[in-house]
Symmetry: C2
Subunit: 306 residues, 2 copies
Amino acid sequence: MSVVYGRVALIGLGLIASSMAWGMRRAGLAEEIVGTARSAQTRETAREIGLCDRVVDTAAEAVKDADLVVLAVPVGVMGAVAEEIGPHLKQGATVSDVGSVKRAVIAAVGPHIPDGVNFIPAHPLAGTEHSGPRSGFAELFDNRFCLLVPAENSDRQAVDRLRAYWEGLGANVEEMDADHHDLVLAVTSHAPHLIAYTMVGVADDLRRVTDSEVIKYSAAGFRDFTRIAASDPTMWRDVFLTNKDATLEILGRFTEELFALQRAIRTGDGDMLFDYFTRTRAIRRSIIDAGQDTDAPDFGRSKVHP
Amino acid sequence: MSVVYGRVALIGLGLIASSMAWGMRRAGLAEEIVGTARSAQTRETAREIGLCDRVVDTAAEAVKDADLVVLAVPVGVMGAVAEEIGPHLKQGATVSDVGSVKRAVIAAVGPHIPDGVNFIPAHPLAGTEHSGPRSGFAELFDNRFCLLVPAENSDRQAVDRLRAYWEGLGANVEEMDADHHDLVLAVTSHAPHLIAYTMVGVADDLRRVTDSEVIKYSAAGFRDFTRIAASDPTMWRDVFLTNKDATLEILGRFTEELFALQRAIRTGDGDMLFDYFTRTRAIRRSIIDAGQDTDAPDFGRSKVHP
């Protein structure tokens, strides 16, 4: 692997950015990694663990002379960060992000990107329920998808370079338009997360079943929901607020379908339930066949940092 | 470990029974394991892999002289199996089961148990998404809970013996009454399963996002739902039909809560979302502290048979 960008600036040093830092080092993708975070404590931790070549105090300082700038902050603050860095970006640089929604990020960030700078939104589909600068590991993106969302007038060379960078981090790269991205993610990620949060909240609220019972007996299915529902609250608040339309559309479909299954339970329609469950089982098989999970019990996350 | 029951009869040879067979051998809990299954192919497989000391063709034959009889068939057919074996049970024997609901099993099986035989329902909280006689492994119950649901007039010695047996299989044993069991499981297992089935069904139905996209991008949260939604269709149909009231009650609460979160998304109430997600994250931490999952990426299932 060889250097793709001379200097890379990471704005925000959470799970994704810290995994990118370790991944860049593993593959030698950058000559210099500069990082910054809003919290002094995060910057201190990053220095302590040697996450970047340099950790600086402001985003404006971090982007100076950077060839690639990655916005790795919650979606809700990307606009403000873009406004801060806009005047300090190098001509010919590429600005990208790792946000879970794309339409809202483009609307918030786009206007602050000066002429002569390439803005190419991206979204790596990888994560764990952990957060912060210590949670990163180089293997996070291995064999996971990274979706690039270039605009129609994006510079092709700049897009290909960002693609090479993400491939260097181990990801399979695909391109998609912003609206479709937001709908696909509403189905595969945003709605499932909201549903898991809801179920865990219900269990916590129910007074006739104690919290300690819920916790003790969680192995029976509930446990997987709690992992999903343990993801970073700030990030997820912003996801739902900024991918409102697609998420609400999918939740509407979900409720409709849930009511149909509830009705089948109430009326004792065993055939309907059996057929439904047989169909969903086949989907699981397809996912294993597609290599996005394994039959093994580690949920395909065998490369997670110890 | 020493022998707890002389002869154990397993009626049904799926994931749970086959794991019990391997577990009994690991710990030397039985002198002889006799198994049977309704399907000739299942019996053939069981013979092929040496699952039991003897595999016989009928349940009536299997229970002959057995000290412990375990009903490990779908909840919907337990009544019929109990009726078949009732006249062949040995005086002093214990009949138990491994069904995921308890009130309906007691109603269906209880009337067929003759005087002088102990009926002590049980429910091991363990499983994988796999099924059939080849899916079992000795470690399935290690450090998992097994709930015993004795009647008020159950023979205390017989209950303690069944407890020793499940402890020998590696489980932590607790006692609970049937109604409470069914409510606890509706929260920790039945409702989460139905919700996962529903979400996977919605994704499959949505025409603007292709199945192949859903499958490719499933790592983003959806993947964990598909594992839950891949569980045995017959078993789950019977669970929902026989634990109807508690499941519908929890789903009602779930819908109410989901609507409140949808409303927060629609109105842009970020504080409500943030507080909710912070609370659910704390529950995850409690589960890890309780030893029912680990921070490691294998979902605490590290002992699964290769």
